[in-house]
């Protein structure tokens, strides 16, 4: 049987770990509030740009943008958004599982996949399993700046423009509530037209200076805003998942300590009993 000193040491070490996990839980809880605010702050822009895009789709425009064009798919690019840090339960793993499943499905149809990655976890994962990685954005922090993603998104859009890819997918976690985060893989390009299905109206915009460059810029911004929204939402997911994971870890540590304390008392009592019986035995012998 283990001796008391060993058990005591083990209890002390678990208590130390428990302190760390409970501190991390609290840090994540306070960060979660901030990241959720960040998610809400970006929402007006994405709603408004969506509105504008749907107006444009309903206008009788002559110009059809390549982002709407359905090409015969040969190559696809996955934009995978992960966290920079670990210790957030199955958040990243569940997302990667979906990405790999989708990529395998496309592979079976003869469509090649490439990957554009946000977050250290994604680049670490694809480094170990292989795959063609075209762009990486890491260490964006808890409050990512929309400008930090411009270049990243441009790489993917340029590839589409040059015909290096025919489809793009956006893979990230969506925030359902604090307990639930849902991994999702959505088609980004070609865009599904935001048409309300009604008959096309007769009016069209006056474009200054001209339709092509304006729509080009606007749709680029739209895709950038979708990617940015996904990143801030994934951030909120990360903190929520981390909070839950750390809470579980703290609870587990508490249970372990309880068990070990029981063991400690058992060992202690056994030692005392043994000592007593030795003394009694010794006295009887005299």
């Amino acid at each position: 049987m283990a001796n008391t000193k060993e058990v005591r040491k083990q209890i002390a070490s678990i208590k130390g770990t428990q302190k760390i996990t409970s501190a991390m839980e609290m840090v994540a809880a306070s960060k979660m509030k901030k990241t959720q605010d960040g998610m809400l702050e970006g929402r007006p822009y994405s709603l408004k740009i969506k509105e504008v895009i749907s107006h444009i789709a309903s206008a009788s425009s002559e110009y059809n943008h390549p982002f709407y064009e359905e090409r015969k798919p040969k190559k696809a690019c996955f934009i995978v958004i992960s966290s920079d840090k670990g210790l957030c339960g199955g958040l990243n793993i569940n997302l990667f599982k979906q990405v790999i499943a989708k990529s395998a499905e496309l592979d079976a149809q003869g469509i090649e996949s490439s990957f554009a990655l946000v977050g250290t976890k994604a680049s670490g994962f694809f480094k170990s399993v292989g795959g063609k990685v075209v762009a990486v954005a890491e260490k964006l922090g808890d409050k990512p700046n929309p400008d930090d993603l411009i270049g990243f998104t441009k790489v993917v859009l340029d590839m589409h423009k040059n015909g290096d890819i025919d489809q793009a997918y956006l893979c990230s976690n969506s925030f359902v509530n604090t307990m639930t985060q849902q991994p999702k893989v959505e088609q980004l390009i070609p865009l599904s037209p935001e048409d309300d299905g009604g008959p096309k109206s007769q009016w069209d915009y006056i474009y200054e200076p001209e339709a092509k460059s304006l729509l080009d810029g606007l749709l680029t911004r739209y895709i950038e805003s979708l990617v940015y929204q996904a990143v801030v939402e994934n951030n909120a997911c990360e903190q929520a998942a981390k909070m839950i994971a750390m809470k579980n870890a703290t609870d587990n540590a508490g249970d372990l300590i309880k068990e070990l304390e029981l063991l400690y008392n058992n060992v202690r009592q056994a030692a005392i009993t043994q000592e007593l019986s030795e003394i009694v035995g010794g006295a009887a012998a005299v």
Binding site: H55, F126, G131, I150
Partner: protein
């Protein structure tokens, strides 16, 4: 007096939302004034002020570029958070590409599905074990 609805947003926040009798903005082809009932128009914005006039009150906001959409009863300003230029964007794109090359210098270009599946299965199994441990207690 008729008014027009105005929304000014940038990708990280909502800047202004309200009504006005007149809006002035710096379009890419020069300053434009928008009165209620303006014909639908779509234009780029040059860096400059956007002014919202409501009766005798006036509010001004600075936009570092972006887009302006006009509907007869609605003006939407999609402001950029930073100045954008083709060559600056290009430099950013090169950075993202370089990060990819640096990080994944000597990795295999074909995705190893078997390895990925086994790695993920292992991670999931680990998580499940932790959950089981919890339920038992």
């Amino acid at each position: 007096m008729s008014t027009i609805k105005i929304n000014i947003v940038s990708s990280s926040e909502e800047i202004y939302s309200g009504e006005g009798t007149m809006v002035y903005a710096t379009g890419s082809l020069g300053e434009i004034g928008i009165a209620p009932g303006h014909t639908p128009l779509l234009t780029g914005l040059a860096p400059g002020p956007v002014r919202v006039v409501n009766g005798s009150e006036e509010e001004a906001f600075f936009c570092s570029g972006g887009f302006l959409e006009i509907q007869p009863d609605l003006v939407t300003v999609l402001s950029d958070t930073a100045e954008r230029a083709e060559n600056l964007d290009e430099a950013e794109a090169i950075k993202a590409k370089e990060a990819a090359e640096k990080d994944l210098a000597n990795q295999d270009a074909t995705l190893d599905y078997a390895k990925a599946a086994s790695q993920l299965a292992e991670a999931v199994a680990r998580l499940k074990t932790i959950q089981k441990l919890r339920k038992k207690q």
